[in-house]
C-alpha cells in the first residue's frame, strides 16, 4: 500500500506504539483486498461485546490500554456497539459475575483508549447519522448497510479490531465500498409486495439477502411503494446484512445514489422477482412450535417510536412469559420520561438498555432460564439464534405481545 508521510511516521512508531500496531493491522487487511492506499475517516463504530472478545480479546484491549506513552487514545470520534449486558438487569438474564467482570474490564480498557461508550447499534438514529460520501469505519452490519444505503456514506464492515484501528489512526484501507465503482448494482430485484410491519420488512430483507448471497453483491430493489420509515428500513437492512452479508442496497427514487434506476444499474443486469409468497415462506419456515418460552424485541435496538408502539400494545395486558425489549442508552431515558417503560413493565415486560440480546451470552442465558422457543419481530434475530440453540420464531409485534400473554404464538 502507498503510505503518505503521516502514515509512514505512524508505521515507524513516531505516533506511539498503539497507533503503530493499529496501522500494521490495517495494512494486513488492506493488502489482502488489494487496497492502494488509505482514506481518512471521520467516525468509527466499534463492536466489542465480551462474548466475542473472550478473555483473550479483553487482555488484548487491556494491553493496548496499558501503553503509557501518552498517545494511546483514538483520534476521531469512536463509539461502541451494544455491550454484553445491561448491568441493572443481569440477574434477570441469569448472567454470571464472571461475565459482568469481563464486561467491566473491557469497558475500562476502551475508556482508557478514548472510546465513547455509547453502546448502541442504532447510532444513525440516536448519535449522529453520517452524510453522503462521508467515509466512516463502522462495525455492526446493520449500521453499515443503513449508513451506506440510506445515508449514502462509505464504509466497509469493520469488525472490532479494524474499527478500533481506524479510530486510532483516523483512516482505513481504501477498498470495497469506499470505491465508487464498487457501489454500482450487481443485481436487480423487482418486489411485488411492499410490507408494512417491521417483521415483514425484515423478512423481505432476509429474502433479498439470501438471493444476493455475498458481501460484494449490491442489490437494486425496484417496486417499493411509498417512502419507508426509518425503523422499517432499519429492519430491512439489518436483516439483509445478516442473511446475506450485504453492505449496500439501492432503492430507486428513495436512496441518495439512485434517483433513478439507471444511476446505479447498467442495462441487462441480472433480474429476479420477489413476491409476497417468498416473504411469507421465510417467516413460516421459522414457525416450528406454537408455544413460546420468551419474547424478545431486539436486533436492532428499539427506537423511541418502536417503544411507543410496544407500550400501546401492552396496555391492559398481563404477561405469563418473559418479554424483553432492548433499546439504546440514548433512547431509554426518553422512554422513561414518556412513560413507555412503565407501561411495558406494568404488563410484566422488561426494558433493557445498552445491550443486544444475541450479544449477551445468548447460549448461556438460554440454558440458565430454559429459554428455547423464542418469539420476536426481528428477522435478524431469528437468523442468528439457531446456532445458539434456540428455536426462534418470527412474527409481528402484535402477535409477539399476544404470545407473551398466552404463551402461544398464532400462525399467520
Amino acid at each position: 500500500m502507498k503510505l503518505n508521510d503521516e502514515e509512514s511516521d505512524i508505521l515507524a512508531g513516531k505516533m506511539g506504539v498503539v497507533a503503530q500496531q493499529a496501522l500494521q493491522h490495517q495494512i494486513k487487511v488492506g493488502e489482502f483486498f488489494g487496497a492502494e492506499d488509505f482514506v481518512p475517516v471521520t467516525q468509527a463504530h466499534l463492536m466489542a461485546d465480551t462474548e466475542s472478545l473472550g478473555e483473550a480479546g479483553v487482555r488484548w484491549l487491556e494491553n493496548l490500554a496499558a501503553t503509557d506513552d501518552g498517545r494511546r487514545q483514538v483520534r476521531i470520534p469512536t463509539i461502541t456497539d451494544p455491550r454484553g449486558t445491561d448491568f441493572s438487569k443481569a440477574a434477570l438474564l441469569g448472567q454470571t459475575s464472571a461475565m459482568l467482570g469481563l464486561e467491566r474490564r473491557a469497558i475500562a480498557a476502551l475508556v482508557k483508549l478514548g472510546v465513547a461508550m455509547t453502546d448502541t447499534c442504532i447510532n444513525y438514529q440516536t448519535i449522529q447519522a453520517p452524510t453522503r460520501n462521508e467515509h466512516v469505519a463502522f462495525g455492526d452490519t446493520g449500521v453499515v448497510i443503513y449508513s451506506n444505503s440510506i445515508c449514502g456514506a462509505r464504509s466497509n464492515f469493520e469488525g472490532g479490531p479494524s474499527a478500533l484501528s481506524a479510530g486510532l489512526t483516523g483512516r482505513t484501507p481504501r477498498y470495497g465500498f469506499h470505491l465508487p465503482q464498487m457501489r454500482r448494482a450487481t443485481l436487480r430485484l423487482d418486489v411485488e409486495f411492499t410490507p408494512t410491519s417491521l417483521n415483514g420488512w425484515g423478512a423481505l430483507g432476509g429474502v433479498i439477502g439470501r438471493i444476493a448471497g455475498n458481501y460484494w453483491a449490491v442489490p437494486v430493489i425496484d417496486g417499493i411503494q411509498s417512502a419507508p420509515r426509518s425503523d422499517q428500513l432499519k429492519h430491512f437492512g439489518a436483516s439483509m446484512a445478516s442473511f446475506g452479508s450485504i453492505a449496500l442496497f439501492h432503492l430507486p427514487g428513495l436512496t441518495p445514489e439512485a434517483a433513478e434506476l439507471r444511476d446505479v444499474a447498467t442495462p441487462g443486469l441480472p433480474s429476479l422477482r420477489v413476491t409476497k409468497a417468498d416473504i411469507d415462506e421465510l417467516q413460516n419456515s421459522y414457525h416450528t412450535d406454537d408455544h413460546v418460552d420468551v419474547v424478545v424485541f431486539s436486533a436492532p435496538q428499539l427506537s423511541l417510536f418502536e417503544l411507543r408502539e410496544l407500550a400501546e400494545l401492552c396496555e391492559g395486558r398481563r404477561f405469563t412469559v418473559p418479554m424483553l425489549a432492548v433499546t439504546s442508552p440514548q433512547v431509554k431515558p426518553d422512554a422513561d420520561r414518556m412513560g413507555y417503560t412503565a407501561r411495558i413493565e406494568g404488563a410484566g415486560g422488561s426494558v433493557l438498555s445498552g445491550m443486544c440480546f444475541y450479544q449477551s451470552y445468548a447460549r448461556e442465558i438460554s440454558e440458565a432460564n430454559g429459554w428455547k422457543r423464542l418469539a420476536t419481530n426481528s428477522a435478524k434475530l431469528v437468523n442468528i439464534l439457531g446456532g445458539y440453540g434456540y428455536r426462534p420464531m418470527l412474527a409481528s409485534m402484535e402477535a409477539c405481545v399476544d404470545a407473551a400473554v398466552s404463551g402461544r404464538l398464532a400462525r399467520i
Binding site: V29, F33, S52, T141, F157, G159, Y215, N383
Partner: protein, 147 residues
Amino acid sequence: MKASLFRARHAIGRIVRGTTLVAHDGFSARYDLDRINGVFSRPTHKLAGQSYVGKILVLDTAKGGVATAWMLHEMQSRGIVPLALVFNSVNPILAQGAALGDVSMLAGFDEDITSAIPNGVEVEVNPQMSLLTVMSYQMDGPICRNE
C-alpha cells in the same frame, strides 16, 4: 505423488497443512459455531454437528455479522480453531479476523472451490504463494489449475 494446485486472489497468514472439511455453505463464527465444544451448531448448516477444530475449512462465503473478527482470535487462544480457511469469497470481517487471530486464509478462485476440493483430504495452504495444494498419493505429478 500427484497434487492439484489452485491459485487464490487473496491470501493471508502462514503455510499450513491439514485435512479439509468441505461444504457449499456460508460461515459466521457467531451464527454457525458452538465455540465451546468446537462444532458447527446451526441446525441448518451443512456441517451441523461436525468438529471444525484443526480442520482446513473449505466453504463458499462469509455470512452474518462482525463478531468473527474477534472470535477467531478468541478461538485461537483456546486452541479451538480451524487450522485455515479457504473460501470462494470472503467479506472484510473474515480478513480482519484472520489478521488478528493469525489464521491462514485463501479466497477468490476461478472455480467453485467447494466443488473442486474433496472432503477429508490433506491439503497445503500457502498464503505466501497464494496457492492451495491438494495432496494425492494416487497420482504422479502436479496439475496446475487457474493459472
